[in-house]
Symmetry: C2
Subunit: 411 residues, 2 copies
């Protein structure tokens, strides 16, 4: 049982929009045992859309299409599908009622082009979109399924979760799937591969090991598709336990969660709180932490003191320290952390100051030099790490390091 995902939109090809939908759909379908065979992105051009659907149908049982369902003239997915299936057009009354209600609630006038969103090909099953104006469409074609969904992530996610997945589950016998994840931080992909080479060489052909590096971390994923017997699962579990033993010093989670989630769970479990003092990361650590619902239980806040004056006024960093040692120094981050623990009531804290680049580097402190202080009122440690020449990579790597330092401080 496999699926091809087609994303439609010139904005994807010219690169003005990053396609986050495909990754999310991939995760959701994978979790119910449907493999993604291929992903195809095409522009808002009928012949290309048709070619992509033909390719997808020839190789997959399920085709999921997102995008191109907006009210404007450049969106042609629905029209193309209707032509493709030689279908007529019908008005879907519940959708029209919903569109009217949405516009009424927003106090905006209902336009004729908005009303056309309630017109659908007469051979589809409408998937009610409770979050927007473009309905989802489900086509049953010669034992295969073609689904067309709006490209807006918030609407697409709702339709996949509440309409598409339940319907797929009733319509197809889905194979069992067995995955286990081991998430490591503070070690590179090739070093891990060397540590695991013995295991990898002796893996049975039915079990796959994938290395999924992400900035500052590597996800290891053992998987087996179509497993039904306990003995096979036990075999995978045995390999997993052995991997875990070898990688012990670097493992931060055994589920597919983010480092900020792992840190949050640790603090919550221990009933402790933390706060952050940021400079070069500019609020990114705070953003990562607060992207997790419920983070207010353990997260007090982040003081992003980007200027010298803010470092002095908010965190009490000494003018002398800034003048003699600079803002990117272990002395400065120590004072930032001291100040943070003084002005907040957090149990733990981490302070970060570095040169993200592209400007500001010197021979002694090149771009990518980042200082960290971590700890509690009882004990503070400082570090200096040399990262990359690129701004965004430095910001991301610094944030991941800060989170990992917090993790190590509390365990």
């Amino acid at each position: 049982m496999n699926c091809t995902i087609i994303t439609i939109g010139d904005e994807l090809l010219i690169g003005q929009t990053v396609d986050t939908n495909s990754a999310w759909i991939g995760q959701m379908l994978n979790a119910i045992g449907i493999k993604i065979y291929e992903r195809i992105a095409v522009g808002d051009i009928a012949v290309q859309i048709v070619k992509a659907i033909d390719t997808a149908r020839s190789q997959s049982d399920i085709v999921i299409i997102t995008g191109g369902l907006g009210p404007t003239k450049d969106d042609i997915t629905k029209k193309t599908l209707r032509t493709y299936f030689h279908a007529g057009e019908v008005l879907h009354e519940p959708t029209l009622a919903r569109i009217r209600a949405i516009f009424e609630k927003r106090g905006r006038p209902l336009l004729a082009i908005n009303e056309t969103q309630a017109l659908v090909p007469d051979n589809c099953t409408v998937l009610d979109n409770e979050r927007g104006t473009a309905p989802g469409m489900w086509f049953d074609v010669e034992g295969k399924v073609i689904v067309s969904l709006p490209g807006v992530p918030y609407e697409m996610k709702h339709l996949i979760t509440n309409k598409v997945i339940p319907k797929l589950k009733t319509q197809f016998p889905l194979p069992e799937i067995y995955h286990r994840n081991l998430l490591c931080v503070g070690i590179g992909e090739s070093s891990i591969a060397q540590m695991l080479s013995g295991i990898e060489d002796s893996l049975p052909s039915t079990i796959q090991l994938a290395y999924l590096p992400d900035l500052g971390m590597v996800k290891l994923r053992l998987s087996a598709y179509g497993i039904t017997d306990a003995a096979h699962k036990a075999m995978l579990d045995k390999v997993y336990d052995e991997m875990k033993r070898i990688m012990q010093a670097y493992v931060f989670a055994e589920e597919d969660i983010t480092l900020q989630e792992a840190v949050g769970r640790l603090f919550q479990a221990k009933g402790k709180t933390f706060a952050v003092a940021e400079s070069c990361t500019g609020g990114y650590v705070g953003h990562l932490v607060t992207s997790i619902p419920g983070s207010s239980v353990y997260f007090k806040g982040s003081l992003v003191t980007y200027s010298y004056s803010m470092k002095e006024a908010i965190l009490g960093v000494k003018k002398e320290t800034l003048e003699t040692q600079g803002a990117v120094s272990e002395a400065c981050v120590r004072e930032m952390l001291d100040g943070l623990l003084r002005v907040s009531d957090a149990d733990y804290g981490v302070a970060i100051s570095g040169i993200a680049g592209p400007d500001g580097g010197t021979a002694a402190k090149p771009v990518g030099t980042v200082c960290f202080a971590v700890g509690s009122k009882e004990s503070i440690k400082t570090y200096t790490i040399q990262f990359f020449p690129s701004r965004m990579e430095n910001i991301r790597a610094s944030a991941m390091t800060a989170l990992n330092l917090l993790r190590k401080a509390i365990i």
Copy 2:
């Protein structure tokens, strides 16, 4: 002249990695007049890679492949290309020397699997990768070009910018391309479409208008490919000027920049600074602002006071206000902004407090309720806006709104 992009990696299909490479490559090639015809993502499986290359070659002049060049066993792109071209294998000495130097600098032992990264098919031109261990490979095949690059964004970007684009420019006659962008904020896609319907109906077939909605903003893009004469450009310019006149109240930029860049340029041009007091956005406003190089000129910092205690201790919000009106109230954001302007030396400030969700909503203040205060010591305005039911959408929309309020405050 067009290009198909192939991205390789199981991690893309199972959705553990979001493909940001394709969008970036699309932007870069578009800028030099190369259209992206299609994007294909396949797993680390030889037959699928071969099929994707065949498809890409049949429809495009240029094929760019990223991913699958790592040292581990699951990375098979290089081996597959060698088999595909029936090529032999040669050692690329400069790459081996670079790999050795990288490991020496990092103080890590050089492993045999790392050395294999210097082996390349004997029919390719090596594109030196100064940022990593996997070299880029350029294949000239029957008048078409196939390029294989590492999937690590930092390495891929370097190779595209410094190796691939210069080589494409010398090898192909690139058509002229003419684009103009109009970026609007604070208005929805269909309202814009209605305002521009007259223009759209009378557009000549050689000029395309695209709507590219992004959270809280819409990019309008007029484009014409293969334009060489001044008269045609003047025609596009005339349409553009008319669009600009109609959309005047909502336009924040005429180039393809982000709202945070537009705000940064405004503050820089006026020689003014700003700071932020964040609650529900958790540092995201600070992150957006500091993702722009050089933002320290106009950005003082962001005080992310996530807890009541931090709001009181850092910004001087009154306990009484929090108890009687709650943290999500115009009274609270006004006090947050007062405090921010008092403790920072910024000229302008914006304060944000809201209910991002999924928890914390009430009947009177449902999830998505966000309060803003914006201004300077001279004048402060407050607003309450109702956004979405989803956490990340609320965080993003709140941050965009805060930036737009800052923009309006200074112009």
